[in-house]
């Protein structure tokens, strides 16, 4: 995907120690489970090795000499082994899956939790889609490596070691002959890997080109349509797709060569055993059973090896994914609670801004030297043209963003000295662009807080005039709101937002109230009434649009290019015939 382009460059896939350590730290809580899984793996590997061994004994001690006494026992032993292998392998696989899923669960929670601690500026920089990918797809990819990768890796290594040991213990010479072929295998694998590594890099670049093209095309689909670009886009897309196909077909070639070669090498090992071992059997130096056992062991020996090559691609993807995940987890939230936050029980709601300077980036200050005081229960309105910095006042008061210079005090304490949670709990926001979650109306008002009773929600809804329209919905308060609340009108959504604010009952309320159209006059009256009610008895800062609200506030600040130019009450400002007077005429006469 395009957003990963810069990250993609850094990916030359050998897992670095830091990433490996972090991955291990996720396994750590499940040490026991992990150990047990590995233990089961060991047992299965052992059982797998035991099978041919039993057959060897059966052939040498019972079948060849024609000794039937006790033969049944050895057969039953074999039956027991395969049954055990079945049961233990099942549990081993299931436990591996549990391990993988648990780690995935933890990792998801961590990422989710972490991004919720990031300041808003993080979300300005990172599009929703990118963050989503970390929580969903990347974790998925990683899980594949953890469960099928690491665990099988252990299993395969055990298997190879176990077989080597048992082979050596049965017959040293024959084993050494078998192992001599291994050198060939090592060479083949080495060449294969170096070839595949390069093409994999190319493939990854190609597929990411395809995906970013696709993503861009989907987002810009209307533009493509308007400009009649469909045919040409298809052509371009086909080209990218073809490149990818070509690159992949190349790896198919390598894989197609590699697998038969592994088989060929293992057959060579068998052939060697037959040639050399067979001769020894004839000469009576070696038993027939040993020969059979060796042949079976060689079969089991080479499977894990080709298995490992198959996992190569998965592993590459997973390492890339884990790096992206840890990249996000490592980004420290820049706005955090202080170490020893001020304890708060009740807040009066005195607010003062002292020489506050604020910019979203660099020296481009949107608020310059802002000073004002607001007593508990008082209300203040900010007015000004678009871009005058009004909205920023709200963004900095509850620390969505931190200011660069000056102080903001709440009840005489710097807001940076409160725990973020406490600060925001006491400062409510009513936004104009009301965001509704999918869920019931009830849960949208109380935001899923079960400690707020339905009665209280209804009471609040009645208070802000939302009760009536909610009652008209088929399921009333339990009515499900679909994505982005499409079933409610803009005005209705605003009333829901007011109900939210009432239910959470903050001491300080910030109201973002900007121009909207398409609110019919009936609901407009309801909103104005609701606004008046929520403003009463609490400290309110309002980014004002409605004339009726402005007339009712205790103090009006006129903001222009980040500075307060005038302040006073509605009537005093009008009387002075300054900017407010003009602004007022400009902005509000349409409403009258």
């Amino acid at each position: 995907m395009i957003e990963d382009r810069h990250e993609e460059k850094a990916i030359e896939r050998s897992i670095d120690r830091k990433t490996a350590q972090k991955l291990l730290s996720y396994i750590k809580p499940y040490k026991m489970l992990f150990a047990f899984t590995v233990f089961l793996l060991l047992v299965t590997a052992g059982l797998q090795i035991l099978g041919p061994f039993i057959i060897m004994i059966a052939i040498d001690q019972y079948i060849t000499p024609g000794q039937l006494e006790g033969f049944l026992n050895i057969v039953l032993l074999f039956a027991l082994v395969i049954l055990l292998e079945f049961v233990i392998r099942y549990f081993q696989q299931y436990l591996t899956e549990i391990l993988g899923q648990k780690i995935m669960y933890d990792m998801r929670m961590d990422i989710f939790d972490h991004i919720h601690r990031m300041p808003l500026s993080f979300f300005d920089r990172n599009p929703v889609g990118r963050i989503m990918t970390r929580v969903t797809t990347d974790v998925q990819t990683l899980n594949e490596m953890l469960s099928s990768g690491i665990v099988t890796l252990f299993g395969d290594i055990f298997m190879i070691l176990g077989i080597m040991i048992i082979m050596l213990s049965i017959n040293l010479r024959l084993s050494l002959i078998t192992f001599s072929v291994l050198i060939l295998l090592a060479i083949a694998t080495f060449i294969f890997r170096s070839k595949v590594r390069v093409t994999f890099k190319i493939i990854r670049a190609k597929i990411s080109a395809i995906n970013s093209y696709l993503q861009e095309a989907i987002s810009g689909m209307n533009t493509i349509k308007i400009f009649g670009r469909e045919a040409r886009s298809t052509m371009e897309f086909r080209k990218l797709n073809q490149d990818y196909l070509g690159a992949y077909l190349k790896t198919v070639f390598y894989y197609a060569v590699f697998y038969p070669i592994v088989t060929l090498i293992s057959t060579m090992a068998i052939a060697l055993i037959i040639w050399y071992g067979g001769g020894q059997v004839i000469r009576g130096v070696l038993t027939f059973g040993i020969l059979v056992a060796f042949i079976q062991y060689i079969e089991r020996f080479f499977h894990p090896i080709s298995d490992l090559s198959e996992k190569f691609g998965i592993l590459q993807e997973a390492i890339a994914a884990s790096e992206r995940i840890f990249n996000i987890l490592e980004t420290k939230p820049s706005i955090t609670s202080p170490k020893n936050p001020v304890k708060v029980n009740k807040i009066k709601g005195d607010i003062s801004f002292e020489n506050v300077w604020f910019s979203y980036n660099g020296d481009d200050y949107v608020l310059k030297d802002i000073n004002f005081k607001l007593g508990s229960g008082q209300s203040i309105a900010f007015v000004g043209a678009t871009g005058s910095g009004k909205t920023s006042i709200i963004n900095i008061l509850n620390r969505f963003y931190d200011i660069q210079m000056g102080n903001i005090l709440l009840d005489g304490v710097d807001i940076k000295d409160y725990a973020l949670k406490d600060l925001r709990k006491h400062i409510g926001i009513v936004m104009q662009d009301v965001f509704l979650f999918s869920g019931s109306i009830l849960d949208n008002i109380r935001l899923g807080d079960p400690s707020i009773s339905k009665e209280r929600v209804i009471e609040a809804a009645k208070y802000v005039n939302a009760h009536k329209f909610i009652e008209k919905l088929p399921q009333k308060y339990d009515q499900e709101i679909k994505e982005r609340g499409k079933i409610l009108s803009v005005g209705q959504k605003q009333l829901i937002a007011f109900a939210r604010a009432i239910v959470f009952n903050p001491e300080v309320l910030l109201v973002l109230d900007e121009a909207t159209s398409s609110i019919d006059s009936e609901i407009e009256a309801l909103i104005q009434d609701a606004l008046k009610k929520v403003m009463s008895a609490r400290t309110t800062i309002i980014i004002a649009h409605r004339l009726s609200t402005i007339k009712n506030v205790d103090n009006i600040m006129v903001l222009s290019h980040g500075r307060i130019l005038e302040q006073g009450t509605h009537s005093s400002l009008l009387a002075s015939r300054g900017i407010y007077y003009k602004l007022y005429r400009y902005q509000y006469q349409l409403q009258e």
């Binding site: 059966a58 689909m221 197609a256």
Partner: protein, 573 residues
Amino acid sequence: MRLAIDGIMMAPEETNLLMYAALLVGVAGVQGIFRFYMRKLLVGISRKVEYLVRTDFFSHLQRIHSSFFTNTRTGSIMALATNDLEAVRNFLGPGILNLFNTIFVFVSTLTVMFLINVRLSLYSLIAIPILPVLVSKLSAMLHTRFRASQEQYASLSARTQESIAGIKVIKSFTREEHEKEVFKGLNREYINRNLSLARIRAAFWPAMVFIGGIGILVVLWIGGNQVVAQTLTLGQFVQFSAYIGAITWPLISLGWVINLVQRGSVSMKRINKVLDIKPRIRTPKHPIRPKEVKGDIEFRHVYFKYENEELYDDYVQKNIMDRNLLAASPKNGNWILKDINIDIEAGTQTGIVGFTGSAKSSLLNLTVRLYDPQRGKILLDGFDLRTMDLDILRASVGYVTQEPFLFSKTIKENILFGCKDIDRLGKHEITERIEHAAKVSQLHEEIIEFPQDYDTVIGERGITLSGGQKQRLAIARALAKQPSVLILDDSFSNVDTHTEERIVSNLRKETRDITTIMVSHRISTVKDSDLILVMDGGEIVEMGTHEQLLKTCGIYLKLHQRQKLSEELEEEL
């Protein structure tokens, strides 16, 4: 093949071992070549199918109507084109490859086995009938559990997306903990479903190993007895165990193949859901293809609303909106546009003003058939848009949308984005056209300051450009198309007033025979238009020239006064 040789090799014990060994390697070599081609062929085919499906998917996406994209998240479409497509490919490639392999090994091994000893063969296959029963039972369960897991995954994604999109609300009400709880529940349910899937999946491999093991067991017991009873030679006995062993691995991979088949079929269904969508807006069977479009536009009693029934997302689909509810909502019909009647003559300039949300953009979207109205019709040069060739219609309209979407290509490529005739033009003509378009939209001077001027690549969505530059580039892009109708949807909002004035005056000179429709927040932009429409709440409430409208004393007059004041204010501040 190898197994056949194994047989010959194992049976006579005293003959030339070296020859057999060499033969074995030789056969393995031949088999290797065979496998090489098989893999190349089958995996190659799967890759080619992937390629075809992806291309198809893409070109189909481009044909689907716009409302599909407003109702479906980009992420879900991307998931189809990546994860699901991969599952399909895995089924076609490694899946079928292994299936072939399994069938081949099975058939050849069984043949040899039956040739040697029928009774023992039958006995050793005693466990095989369990296989189809097991497979059909388990794979049905696998299928449902796969789907359950996929669905939960979709819910998880949807919730994450929502939580990120609503981060401001969550933070301001300090609901992070609650969000975490909800996510935790979904996350837990997801791993539960995955584990329930795993309970089945984990059985496959061991079961197959077990079935193979039973075969070996039977051979060991019955065969062993037969050897002792001398009805079977030791060599044949060894051979049999080797064969059973040879079947075991294909059996195991069969389990894996079933897994791939289930995954692939679930994914293919998901992809097909999109491929089966019939594009609602398309060229009719016998389209009108006017040679030349003059640019007469007429709206006749047009009513329009956005429709919601076609929600694709798994998640959203589960929650398809209650249509009765929609119908029951107070405003009659919920029309976005109500009874729109406009008559625009070719070559004239029309301005549209109105508040945010008064459906100005929706009106413009209809003129290029991004959407079709539910009632009434729109005519271009007297032809109903729906009877026209869609390509010709769109080629004749240059539409600068409100938030123009730029592509991460070079400036040059962006300007030429809609030019269909560039293949016929010479290099010089192309440069001329690009520069002309850029000059009219007051962008040329800035572009030549860029490091690679017109060949500068702009970032994703034009991230390296300022808001004003983006808008002007979008205007240039529309102009380079040489349209008969030019539509500008609030295209100067990030351009300063002076530049705007220059562009507007350029346009006026340039677009003398082009029908121009301009939406603007600034009265000054539209005041010289031949016709000005004032929209409010989806209706045209005032219509006329600047002078006429001022006399009406309606919204237009207020907007105009406001404008003047704002200019004064701007000077004062």
